[in-house]
């Protein structure tokens, strides 16, 4: 797990005196355990859940959410979040679909990623240079980007007819694994390295943990903020490209509520909204959990409206756990001998 990267000494990980480290592990295990319970439960009560096709679809859906969730984890670790990812996802899905009618897939994908990057960078610049709260900027951007997506499509659907091989990004298999899952794994690995082994990741956590200390330590807060929101924009764009290749026909109404999913998987995975650290493994597990629940509800023919209820309940549940955990850590810190 990612914790082995943090500390090569397994004994220290499991030493009980290291209560907070223990909590961090327990957090990932907790989501993992919950995931297992839900998977087993779904397999029993929802016939057709534990089939190759359904599992593949669930994995694909989870991967799309996870990619943005992973980027969101950086923003949350830095003490912020990004509400514009749903709009960015749909805009980039439309951009790639539009571009495919004119240019080759690699360039079209690049165009989508650059679009996501641009929106993210604008978010970051507004937040850092104008000292606006991330909530306000990304909330506004959510509406702006959605508006742009509607304007581009004039409210119409965009169908991908040229370069249908683009669909392989969704249907393709590498070593028997769905391509979306491979993409998500690659994003996960890259971001894990970035979070734990690069100055960038460390600075993001430092800013989230103690902004004043970050300033005094000479960390360039503006630059880190801009980079983090740029990163979130790119991950939202990757999710957009994945969505486009999954549906092959997109319109500007897609991706509503996606920001909520991304934040939920991040927090449910153990990344505290108070900032300071990020748990990427947990994010992936939580995305799988979310997709499993959605899939089971679908099979059980529960009206999709209920999925919104489930998502909201999960987010509040995750926040409650987060609060409880913070209280526990505060207590174990007060217990520090001396």
């Amino acid at each position: 797990m990612n914790h082995s990267a943090e500390s090569p000494n397994f004994r220290s990980i499991f030493s009980l005196s290291n209560a907070t480290r223990f909590v961090q592990i327990a957090e990932s295990l907790g989501v993992f355990a919950l995931l297992m319970i839900v998977v087993i439960g779904a397999s029993i009560i929802a016939p057709g859940f534990f089939t190759y096709t359904n599992l593949t679809n669930t994995l694909i859906a989870a991967s799309i959410t996870a990619v943005t969730g992973l980027g969101m984890t950086f923003a949350i670790a830095m003490g912020g979040f990004d509400l514009s990812v749903g709009s960015v996802q749909v805009l980039t899905a439309i951009v790639v679909a539009d571009l495919l009618s004119a240019i080759d897939p690699p360039l079209a994908i690049l165009g989508a990623l650059l679009t996501g990057l641009a929106v993210g960078l604008v978010n970051g610049v507004l937040i850092s240079k104008l000292r606006l709260p991330a909530f306000v900027v990304t909330f506004g951007m959510m509406s702006i980007v959605r508006g742009v997506a509607l304007l581009i499509t004039q409210g119409q659907s965009v169908m991908i007819t040229k370069h249908v091989e683009f669909g392989l990004l969704n249907n393709g298999k590498i070593l028997g694994l769905p391509v979306p899952f491979i993409i998500m794994t690659m994003v996960f690995l890259a971001l894990s390295v970035l979070l734990k082994h690069s100055p960038f990741g460390r600075h993001a956590c430092a800013i989230g943990g103690n902004r004043a200390a970050a300033t005094v330590s000479g960390i360039n807060i503006d630059r880190t903020t801009i980079a983090v929101f740029g990163l979130v924009g790119v991950t939202a764009a990757i999710s957009g490209v994945m969505l486009s290749s999954q549906l092959m026909i997109v319109d500007a109404t897609l991706g509503t509520g996606f920001e909520l999913q991304a934040i939920t998987v991040s927090v449910l995975g153990g990344t505290s909204l108070s900032g300071g650290h990020g748990n990427l493994v947990g994010t992936v597990f939580a995305a799988l959990l979310l997709a499993t629940i959605a899939s089971a509800l679908n099979i059980l023919k529960v009206i999709s409206f209920y999925q919104y209820l489930a998502l909201g309940v999960l987010l509040i549940f995750a926040l409650a756990i987060d609060t409880g955990r913070r209280a526990f850590i505060a207590k174990s810190l007060a217990a520090r001998p001396g």
Binding site: A206, A213, K331
Partner: protein, 511 residues
Amino acid sequence: MGIDQTSLPILSLTGISKQFPGVKALDDVEFTLLAGEVHALMGENGAGKSTLINIISGLLQPTAGKIRLRGQDVVFAGAAHAQKAGISTITQEFNLVPQLTVAENIFLGRELTGRLGLLNWREIKRHAAEVLNELGLDVPLGQRVSYLSVGDRQLVEIAKALSLEFRIITMDEPTAALNAAEVARLFDIIEKLKRRGIAVLYVSHRLREIFRIADRVTVLRDGKRVATRRINELSEDDVVALMLGRALKKEATVYQKVPVSEKAALSVNNLNVPGCLTDISFDLRVGEVMGCAGLVGSGRYELTRALFGLQQISGGTVKVNGQPMLPTAPSTAMRHSIYMLPEERKVEGVFPDLTVRENLLISAKRLFHRLSEMLINANEEEKQYQEMRTSLDIRAANSGQRIVKLSGGNQQKVMLGRALMSNSRILLLNEPTRGVDIGTRVEIHATIRKLAQNGYAIIVSSSDIPELVSVSDRCLVLSAGRTKGLLDRAQISEDNITALAIGQEISGDNE
């Protein structure tokens, strides 16, 4: 005023032990607190002081032992419970709401209301004024707490405890952030509390204070109580010996200073910071430790902040090794080899979520993998960490431990290490030994002197005047934002520094 023989123990702890996984923080400790006494609790970092206080204030439950309050057995379920039982704990982190006024804070949670259930401002103000008068405080009632100095906030907290009729007040390092005048005022108030029969449990690393106000002292070492004595039976050396378990090797309190070079590492000329500093000029020479003294509000902290690019400069010049520079941001200052240790470790120093190693190396020149400029070389970092750990004697279980698990003294060493790892030759050290024990204090002072010998140029800005006397080659004294004096080696003394800091002139015997 002492304790008379008839004083009853208001609080007594018997056989208190506290076991944490892997460490016994308290081992069979006896402790009694009498009404109307000031009882000092002494011990090195890690001796168990905080654990004992946390048990008394209900934050922790003992593994074994009994707590009796006014003769009744009690088990505190939590901090709220202890508070209800009349125990107030005043720590560095205040339980005040900064956005509310003094009066509102004093009555927070039990607001006086009128007929319609609305706040009765007149009554609130009258009662608050009463409490403050009793303490002889002149804090404006309508002032928002966020505008108050640390000293005033502390007094508001005491006022709150008084208005709640608390009988026991524990104070954990109450003077750490206070200037001399505020300390004197606090001690006056503690005297008043005593006269009202309130028991004060007082924790401080400052020996001199203990001898000034305590009636009895309990010394802890390695979780065990080594002694409880009346203070007048002991000398300062006795207390230190009890704390350390051996006599402290008498350090030459004032370090042997070596001649410094004439080369100025940092020249400051007519520096102005709006609202804080006016026309400050000095040369900090290579190999020199320059003390910087001044009361809260003297601009002492703002001076180091301005030089580190955290405070806007409106006029004057700053030169580093003869090269002019304008400190606009910490990164600019660091490029010019300047690094600042912040005043408040908790507020501006520690990254609570990061490990000891990450905290130590956050400002370090990046150690990159050969393969990629983006990644950190963990092995190289570990090596650097181990070096610094050895040279500063940082006591941590391992480099991956979260920094908040360390004792305050060790955290402070990590902060000092961070400054050393920043690759800067000009260090602006604010309160380098705040909240650390005597042993660590001596070590940190020795380190500062050694750095100077090795060609660093250092400013030590401190409210701890004996510290300035001990380590400084020269001492700049600020008063109300202006240079009140620049004492040379022969002139540096506690009396001279104090006199200048409070705005008096010193007798010109040297000039």
